[in-house]
């Protein structure tokens, strides 16, 4: 009887046997890596309507984060400042002093700050692009973390070194829980404000009193690890 299939087809089971596991591993690894927030979200750096430089304001000028994000100690949101806050420094003041946002020679608004001028005069908001996007069902509260003295840098990275802000951490639930299960590396002693960017417990040595204070605080801290801690 003539063969129905040619001889080379005998290799097909072998090829499938070898290729399918490899393919499966590639797919699983691919999804595990390329579909994870570590890959998709970290480094997200959208273009903002105003090329606002945190490096200049928070870094070089050393303005405290809370000067602009002033609700962070009282509210869940560390609100993006209203245009009026920018205007406090950049607007033309009543006594005729030179406004920072104006071209010193022509007194015309700097083109990069045009959205600010428009917003302040028309009272329409500036359309900032959201960088750190938690899902709507996760209720993160900034004030709780600030009162525990978790540094801004722990989640947002070195904002003071970012010309354009990008997402520094993956903000996944597992990442949140890592810290909630072991908050010690991120809790600062009261002598170090949360907004200090360059503080690193592994580098800066704490005094014995500070170590003791953090230990006592940790003992009472009890960050939630259950679902309703963040999902309501």
């Amino acid at each position: 009887m003539a063969a129905i299939f040619p001889r080379w087809t005998n290799l097909i089971p072998l090829i499938i046997g070898v290729a399918a596991p490899i393919g499966l591993i590639v797919v699983v690894t691919g999804i595990w890596y390329w579909f994870s927030p570590q890959f998709t979200d970290v480094g997200y750096q959208p273009k903002q309507p105003i090329p606002f430089s945190h490096q200049l304001h928070a870094g070089s000028l050393g303005i405290d984060c809370r000067y602009c994000h002033n609700t962070v100690e009282q509210a869940g949101h560390a609100a993006v400042p209203p245009s009026a806050t920018c205007w406090g420094c950049h607007g033309d003041s009543n006594n005729g002093a030179l406004a920072i946002a104006l071209n010193p020679t022509t007194s015309a608004p700097l083109p990069s700050l045009k959205p600010l001028f428009e917003s302040y005069t028309t009272k329409n908001p500036i359309q900032w692009v959201k960088v750190h996007m938690l899902p709507d069902y996760a209720y993160f509260n900034h004030s709780a973390h600030i009162s525990a003295n978790v540094g801004c840098a722990s989640c947002h990275g070195r904002i003071d070194q970012m010309e354009v802000v990008h997402q520094a951490q993956n903000l996944s639930m597992g990442w949140c829980l890592d810290c909630h299960r072991d908050p010690e590396p991120h809790i600062r002693p009261s002598s170090v404000p949360p907004t200090r960017m360059d503080w690193d417990p592994s580098v800066s040595r704490m005094t014995a009193a500070e170590v003791d204070e953090v230990k006592r605080k940790l003992d009472k801290l009890n960050p939630p690890e259950h679902c309703s801690g963040c999902h309501r």
């Binding site: 579909f35 998709t40 869940g76 245009s83 999902h231």
Partner: protein, 1101 residues
């Protein structure tokens, strides 16, 4: 799995009592048959789905879903942050602010405390400082633990008023003769009216009840020295009969205020003082105070005489089912039976015939009289709003004779306010009605005969929130602002004046009562201009402010508190020469008893009632009032406290009467159908469905007002059409007799031969009563050793209460799991792994069935707080209603004709320590927290509904459709009401009570921020507990032994309540260890009227 071996002692419906096989089978399933049937809702799903269509739809869905999913994985859509250009001072985005304002229904004022999320009002609460919403407790109940949980309560109508604010069906434009008209025309019309008043032409102004200093001031300006300006009042929710009696016997400026906590013996005569009548919030709180601590001594006794079917009758210790028309005669019989009554009483009542009492109830007048006399000085007789003025007069006489005044009742003298006297609307004559101004209200619909007078008016102007039946007959309609959009002030019964402060600018171009009256009272070019130009309309504030001559500091402090106290001197008021309080308690009233004769002369012997000549009794709907809240979907879907009917009204009949009339209502499949009948009374008739309600008086047909309004006038929610047809009930207002609008005899019911489907939830979510232990525990207060178990039976009962029923454990787990409560790992406050210094609080709840009236406020408060959608009548019929909290109503007694008692039981997720739902979830979407709450993780839920199937309390609700989206499509404004701290649930997700976890977490964060590691007792109050008028719900940390400063009030209140003997867990034998437990209901029965059965002991109920 549990065969019912006997007829139940407690039952919800006649079918429940009968326990037919069909009923038992149906209720062994979590959802009634057909709930999952896609055909059940043809409006939302294709009704004929064949295989080809199904595959087509599925294929497309898969393709779309995978496309969307891939995109979703790669990158979320770009989102924007839009900060204010100039953020208002003190506004912190995401942190709610609270404002005090005020609200009234029928002149019964409540102070409110309204939450505003980023400047949009989202939740209404009672003002905790207001003497109506949070009256001070009696002196012997100043337990510091209780004080921590005493907050401002509110009513169903106050809670749901927030939804009316976001109602797109509200009138948005003025109209003239039913056509849109410009505001300039409104200015002209008002100028014409003002000119008419000035020239002496007859002008009639019709208002609702309006005890407002500013409105009174404006009315005085308009009407003073103008004999042809007539002021009328019309408000079905006000107490017109009592006002008439007080006007005759004392003065028109006197009002009645009750201190129910001081009354040991209370007779409610057809009065719903705990439900829809009067100062319901204050009365319920103080009534509950009179029975809150029976362990510490006495408990009040409530007699109810009337046709029943309201929460007050369910609360009564003894109830007499008589028609409304017999109630007055019953009171006269009580007066006749009283020993040594003053001569003016015997003279007034001597011509009154004896009441016809039901068989076997002949001893009532003597017994009630004896009880009232025995408690002299500690009694109270409350006469219902629906009773005529002579019954109110008799009630006043008896209260005075029994020494109630000065103790449980107070006459409050409001005469210092010089308020103009408003005449009742029925006094309006046609020649006074040339020019008519109607402020609010809907008299063409609610006042019999008014429509004809209105049509004859040459100029009629109606200010109204909706283009209603009255607007349609008026020459001008002006849209009216919501109370949260406008300034006003209101004087409560006790004289406290609250400021109605707006929280938001008017959504639509609307006018408030004060603005309209100010434009007439002080006509000026500016006011005329402002009427036509909304931007210039800022004089609402200045008009109210002008009433008050106080300096800015006192004004602001009043705004902050929400009110001027009754005792604040009247020098506050503009132009007051000598300081006078707004109102004072009249301790020695000048009773004019001889003026009572004309009131009694109006008495007409009521016709004998029988099944051929029924009494038709009209009552305000506990949800829709007289129809003014008809377009509120929350209220339409709110189950009636007794009948559990939603979206419709029905002709309520007792089982005996229904049998005599040969009509019935019964379940059919998953529906409940009532025979459609023609109800005719006073020469009018309407078609309405019958619903048989045990506990009704015989030969009475009771109907609720407010339903069946034309959607063109009331709004599209008032009479919606869906898969089950057009519903929204029947308008019974035309049936009323103008002379006695609340009840009349001689009504007839004749079957039409067809049926109507009623959406009642009374048999939904049925707890299997085949278990040995009762779901309801109810004791008589005269039980020996009730609070101190001595006998073997009592001890056995106490042991059962501690959840150690080994037999059941063997059945469930194959072995006995004796869990010692004291050492339960579920309640370990230090059980937090590594860290030892942190406290893990253990949340729990106690609901006191002895003070819970079943008034439904908690249900609406929960709906508002937790973003619970409305599903519509056809989904309610399928058992798909979404209320997280329901109130189960049980009857007790072996016969449906004469149930012994009615008990209500609020039921929500009990947060079991050993929760059956958690063990069956395949995806861990419902899990336990270390704080003892049973968490629901919406994002994990895949909708298997196993948890719901395994829940013994039937408290889980499933989103069969995307209800939230449907609600939003129906009204795009309503999403502004949503609580931003609670997730909006999507289709296919299970949900249930979370113990308001958003409030718990917020409180924890706040107390952590303040440096305190835990929430002290009273630091977090649930939405249901906050709204509860009777303070029946207590939430807190069950393991808190340290809260409170003094030794007396150590520990949490919830812990103290859980240690009481009457604390019990529902279905405790399942070993679930629910965190929500109940305090047993106690009845203070009259031992003569209801003798104690010999074999009746606590454990045997």
């Amino acid at each position: 799995m549990n065969e019912p071996t006997h007829k139940p002692v407690y039952w919800r419906s006649l079918q429940d009592l009968e326990r037919a096989d069909e009923f038992v089978q149906q209720h062994q399933h979590e959802f009634p048959d057909g709930t999952f049937d896609p055909d059940a809702s043809p409006s939302s799903t294709p009704s004929s789905l064949n295989r080809r269509d199904f595959l087509g739809v599925m294929g497309a869905s898969v393709a779309l879903a995978s496309g969307a999913a891939l995109q979703g994985c790669v990158r979320k859509e770009q989102q924007h942050v839009l900060p204010y250009a100039d953020r208002p001072e003190l506004l912190i985005p995401g942190v709610p602010s609270y404002f005090r304002t005020a609200f009234h229904v029928g002149g019964f004022v409540q102070g409110l405390h309204v939450e505003s999320q980023d400047l949009r009002p989202t939740k209404v609460e009672g003002n905790p400082d207001h003497p109506i919403n949070n009256p001070p407790p009696p002196a012997d109940q100043r337990d510091p633990r209780r004080q921590r949980h005493r907050v401002g309560a509110s009513s169903v109508w106050a809670q749901s008023s927030i939804l009316d604010l976001y109602d797109l069906d509200r009138s948005q434009k003025p109209s003239s003769n039913n056509a849109d008209a410009p505001w300039a025309g409104v200015s002209e019309a008002l100028q014409t009216l003002t000119a008419a008043a000035a020239s002496g032409a007859p002008v009639s102004i019709i208002l609702g009840a309006c005890p407002s200093p500013t409105i009174e001031r404006l009315l005085s300006l308009i009407a003073s020295n103008r004999p042809n300006v007539h002021l009328f009042s019309h408000d079905l929710a006000s107490n017109e009969a009592e006002a008439a009696a007080l006007t005759a016997l004392v003065s028109p400026h006197h009002k009645l205020l009750y201190n129910l906590e001081k009354a040991a013996s209370i007779l409610a005569l057809d009065a719903d003082f705990l439900g829809s009548e009067g100062d319901m919030v204050r009365n319920a709180r103080l009534f509950a105070d009179g029975r809150r601590d029976p362990e510490r001594g006495s408990m009040n006794r409530l007699y109810f005489a009337g046709p029943a079917l309201n929460v007050t009758s369910a609360m009564a210790d003894e109830h007499l089912r008589i028609p409304s028309s017999q109630a007055g005669l019953f009171l006269a019989a009580v007066a006749k039976a009283l020993p040594s009554v003053p001569a003016h009483i015997s003279a007034a009542i001597q011509h009154l015939p004896a009441p016809s009492l039901p068989l076997g109830k002949e001893a009532w007048p003597q017994e009630v009289a004896a009880d009232l006399r025995a408690n002299n000085g500690k009694t109270l007789i409350l006469v219902g709003h629906r009773q005529p003025a002579w019954v109110h007069a008799l009630g006043l006489m008896l209260n005075q004779a029994l020494g109630a005044f000065g103790s449980s009742a107070h006459l409050i003298d409001h005469s210092a306010n010089n308020a103009p006297i408003l005449k009742p609307l029925r006094d309006l004559t046609a020649d006074q009605a040339k020019n008519i101004l109607i402020i609010g209200q809907n008299p063409a619909h609610t006042a019999p005969g008014f429509a004809t007078i209105l049509k004859s008016a040459s100029l009629s102007i109606h200010l109204s929130g909706y283009r209603d039946e009255t607007s349609a007959l008026c020459t001008w309609h002006i849209p009216r602002s919501h109370f949260l959009e406008s300034w006003c002030d209101w004087r409560a019964t006790d004289g406290t004046v609250s400021i109605q402060q707006p929280l938001i600018a008017p959504f639509f171009n609307t006018l408030s009562d004060v603005e309209l009256l100010a434009a007439i009272a002080t006509p000026s070019p500016q006011a005329t201009l402002a009427i036509s130009d909304v931007a210039a309309r800022d004089y609402g504030f200045s008009t109210v402010r002008a009433t008050w001559g106080v300096d800015e500091d006192r004004w602001r402090s009043a705004l902050f508190k929400g009110f001027f106290l009754m005792g604040d001197a009247a020098s506050l008021r503009q132009g007051a020469v000598t300081p006078k309080p707004f109102a004072k308690t009249d301790t020695s009233p000048n009773w004019q008893w001889n003026q009572a004769a004309p009131l009694f002369a109006a008495f007409q012997a009521p016709g004998e009632v029988s099944s051929d000549a029924l009494e038709v009794s009209f009552a305000l709907s506990p949800a829709l009032c007289d129809g003014r809240f008809a377009n509120n979907a929350w209220l339409q879907e709110l189950p009636d406290p007794i009948s559990k009917l939603t979206w419709d009204n029905a002709a309520y009949l007792s089982p005996t009467t229904a049998k005599a009339l040969n009509v019935n209502s019964r379940p059919r499949g998953r529906d409940h159908v009532g025979d459609l009948v023609t109800l005719s009374a006073n020469g009018q008739s309407c078609d309405i469905a019958v619903m048989v309600i045990p506990g009704m008086a015989d030969n009475v047909v009771l109907v609720h007002l407010g339903y069946g309004r034309d959607p063109q006038h009331a709004g599209k929610v008032a009479k919606p059409t869906d898969a089950s047809g057009t519903h929204g009930g029947t308008d019974v207002l035309p049936l009323r007799d103008p002379q006695n609008p609340w009840f009349s005899t001689g009504a007839k019911v004749s079957p039409k031969g067809s049926v109507y489907t009623l959406a009642t939830t009374q048999d939904h979510w049925h707890l299997d009563t085949g278990f040995k232990r009762p779901i309801i525990q109810e004791y008589r207060i005269d039980e020996p050793n009730l609070f101190n178990p001595q006998s073997e039976e009592d001890k056995q009962h106490a042991e059962l209460s501690t959840l150690k029923n080994e037999a059941y454990q063997s059945l469930l787990f194959g072995k006995s799991l004796v869990v010692d409560d004291k050492q339960s790992t579920f309640r370990d406050r230090t059980h937090n792994g590594k860290r030892t210094g942190a406290i893990v609080q253990q949340w729990g709840m106690v609901i006191d069935l002895n003070t819970c009236t079943g008034c439904n406020v908690c249900v609406i408060a929960c709906q508002a707080e937790n973003n619970i959608p409305v599903v519509g009548k056809d989904r309610v019929l399928n058992g798909r209603e979404m209320h997280w909290m329901r109130i189960d109503r049980y009857y007790r007694g072996a016969t449906p004709e004469n149930p012994d008692t009615i008990v209500v039981q609020p039921m929500a997720c009990a947060h079991c320590e050993m929760a059956p739902c958690e063990t069956v979830c395949p995806v861990a979407a419902t899990v336990h927290s270390p704080e003892g709450t049973n968490d629901m993780v919406y994002n994990r839920c895949i909708g298997t509904r196993y948890c719901s199937n395994n829940c013994p309390y039937k408290v889980r609700r499933y989103n069969f459709f995307n209800y939230q989206k449907e609600n939003e499509e129906a009204n795009r404004l309503a999403k502004m009401q949503k609580n931003p701290d609670v997730t909006i649930r999507f289709r296919g997700v299970m949900e249930k009570c979370t113990y308001c976890i958003q409030r718990v977490m917020q409180a924890k964060i706040e107390f952590k921020r303040a440096g305190q590691g835990y929430v002290p007792d009273g630091g977090v109050i649930m939405a249901c507990a906050q709204a509860c008028p009777s303070n029946a719900i207590t939430f807190g940390d069950v393991e808190d032994t340290t809260s409170g400063a003094s030794e007396q009030g150590k520990g949490s209140l919830v812990r103290a309540l859980k240690s009481l003997f009457r604390n019990y867990a529902v279905l405790a034998e399942l070993n679930n260890h629910p965190r929500t437990t109940y305090l047993a209901r106690l009845r203070n029965r009259n031992p003569v009227l209801t003798p104690k059965p010999k074999d009746d002991h606590p454990a045997a109920h």
